[in-house]
Symmetry: none
Subunit: 423 residues, 2 copies
């Protein structure tokens, strides 16, 4: 038997996209770890009718657990506790002990501030001490307490505040309550693993998965989701421990069919792999169309100064000639977007920075600048490694200016991975 849950994210600022919701994804991860299946996330504004409708909807979907975030503040538009209480058929009562504890917190918070009318603050916050009859209280981390409501006839509801730094510790407390433990008692344990591929179209993966369906025993017990991101395919599989053999068979098939494209069986990113391969090395970049995106991506992780020497953004031809030592005649003969120039840029960066590894990128990101021979999306790459022949590649990348530039950095990362990874 599997346990299902729903998450309700409240707040007009979240619904309208002014504030990005961090609680839905965070709670989704926690549920996954617990082995609870997340069926629905719903978002609504600060309106009681819409919130009630979402609670009724989730209860009708037979979820065992509902978690709400937001709407616990002192102002009039904070109405989650009252709305959940009404949904549960429970009255609100003042918890005087809780009121006192909130007052203590507020006294500490406002201590030393001038112009604070403490009685007005207390009056506004009295509302936060009104709790549904029979609810389990979750002590406030900020000033807002949460509650857990449990009954035989309705899903257990956990009411949490909106600020992530309050919600996260209070969730840990909530999980330990009887109400939540009873709701999740029947949960299944799941494993989740991620495989990553590069250079395979989604339709090619779809074909392999169709074959997997007919060839692999227990394939239907694998819950597979695929996602195309930054030019890479991410394949996430969730399964019960008994289906481990089917998962192994799936990875074997993917490796057998797509040995060049499969680059990560343990979920590591190409950035992780390149960072590992660069240990003990020094890298420099020479970028035209990406204009610094590759250098910035290499510098993303802390500690990258151990291997990143620097780079040149050579947007103009003069910059390619002056700063990277590219021969002007090469540009005149082949054009700035060409394999000879990509090679010369990489080798120029290698020399100028005294590095042992370098990447050159020159391309047409668009929207202008394309020709019949070199349309928008044409990008040339050079990877120079000291003591080896420089490798060059030309690709035609899809999408708009921003896509072409971002994909180019991903391609460069994979060329680096391949080149540094070979013996």
């Amino acid at each position: 038997m599997s346990v299902r849950a729903g998450i309700v994210v409240t707040g007009t600022e979240v619904l309208t996209g002014r504030v990005r919701d961090l609680n839905g994804p965070w709670l989704a991860d926690r549920l996954l770890e617990l082995g609870v299946e997340l069926a629905h996330i719903t978002q609504c504004g600060d309106r009681a009718d819409d919130l009630t409708a979402q609670l009724v909807f989730l209860a009708g979907q037979q979820v065992d657990l509902i978690i709400t975030s937001g709407g616990l503040g002192p102002t009039a538009d904070d109405l989650t506790v009252a709305t959940v209480a009404q949904f549960y058929g429970r009255e609100l009562v003042l918890d005087t002990g809780l009121e006192q504890r909130i007052a203590d917190i507020l006294r500490r918070l406002t201590a030393g501030r001038q112009g604070v009318d403490f009685d007005a603050v207390l009056a506004a916050n009295r509302k936060q001490a009104m709790v549904p009859v029979g609810a389990q209280i979750l002590e406030p981390v900020g000033t807002a307490p949460g509650v857990v409501l449990h009954s035989e006839h309705l899903p257990t509801v956990v009411v949490l505040p909106g600020p992530p730094r309050e919600l996260q510790p209070m969730w840990a407390t909530a999980v330990a309550t009887d109400g939540v433990q009873q709701a999740i008692a029947g949960r299944t344990e799941y494993r989740q693993q991620t495989v990553r591929m590069f250079g395979l179209p989604e339709s090619g993966l779809a074909e392999t998965l169709r074959d997997a369906q007919s060839q692999i025993t227990g394939f239907d017990r694998l819950e597979i989701t695929t996602c195309l991101r930054r030019g890479e395919l991410e394949i996430v599989t969730r399964y019960e421990p008994e289906a481990a053999d089917s998962y192994t068979a799936l990875v074997d098939l993917l490796r057998e069919r797509h040995p060049r494209e499969l680059f990560s069986e343990d979920g590591t990113l190409v950035d992780d792999q390149v960072a590992g391969l660069l240990a003990g090395r020094t890298i420099a970049t020479a970028e035209s169309c990406t204009a610094g995106l590759l250098a910035a991506r290499l510098a993303d992780r802390a500690g990258s100064s151990a291997y990143l020497a620097g780079g040149v953004v050579s947007y103009s031809n003069d910059a390619k000639i002056e700063l990277l030592g590219v021969d002007g005649a090469l540009i005149a003969q082949h054009g700035a977007v060409s394999e000879p120039v990509a090679r010369a840029m990489a080798e120029g960066a290698l020399a100028r920075f005294g590095a042992d590894t370098a990447v050159g990128i020159t391309g047409i990101a668009g929207p202008g600048g394309g020709t019949a021979e070199k349309p928008v999306g044409t990008v040339c790459f050079g990877v120079a490694v000291a003591g080896r022949d420089t490798v060059v590649r030309t690709l035609r990348l899809p999408g708009d200016r921003s896509d072409v530039r971002e994909r180019s950095t991903t391609v460069a990362m994979h060329l680096l991975r391949q080149e540094l990874g070979r013996p």
Copy 2:
């Protein structure tokens, strides 16, 4: 009468938080602009039952319009069109013209690639040409077509693909269809305008808004949302046309109180303004902690090659000395993160690229490298303009490594705006 809408975001990768949903917030903004009230956003995984339940829920909430995103790919877990068709009681039929157009797109995409079994690609994508009877087709921007379904008895449903660069242009097409126009016919007209400020704390704005409330007639008819983003304050105001005078009074007050901080009254970004100021100029960058982010940001917009010469990412001290001509003694005396070095970097970039405008950035992005005197977040900037004294600034920026690097580029853009904008 107000028109209400719901958004359904599908995809296990979004529900589980592995991929951040960008479509919900983007569509929320578009609905706001249209004057349509967004009541609910729901998210579900790639399961037909859960998707159906959400459609039934929204229809029961009497929304006039439902927009779905995601689940239009060629793989078996992409089931939005079939599920929506069933909800609408419409059969799926193969649209052979559409199939042909998708085939043409795929032929272009796979042209020149080796090892592609084109028939298999076509078979996988045939599914995408199966459309509900009577649906209005939205031509694919990628390979997935969208559909609009309209009837008298159900909300109009717009089915859009998940990738934002496909969804966004297709939404514009969808809005123009009869189905959507009929659904939103009864909406209230709103205006929405944006003001941007830089360098003002949120609490300072809150104080001004409190004064505005007591001073401005009709202030309550302005629906104001404020958002702190990339170190800038964005103030978005929505109002009915009759409240235009109140809005004008608000902007007057903001300008009067915060003349230095208010930099955009028409919603233009600092990037737009800097691009305008750079017309006829040539700019170069010298970046340490931002490692190419500023150059990449300057190159974001099409046509930037007219003024962007290039840049140097001088991550190591050697690179600062060799490529930018920074005096090694200066680094030894003041440290790499210092105003003299930021000045030398900017002036070095000016000279090396033959530019008339240059920016130098050197800072401590963290998590390591901070000292008591120069903690993590300390960033020094130099702005060199030919024929003027170079301007230097040191700021202490909040946040983690990624925040510090991104904020630094924003600060650099504002320093450029101020320096190029003064007479």
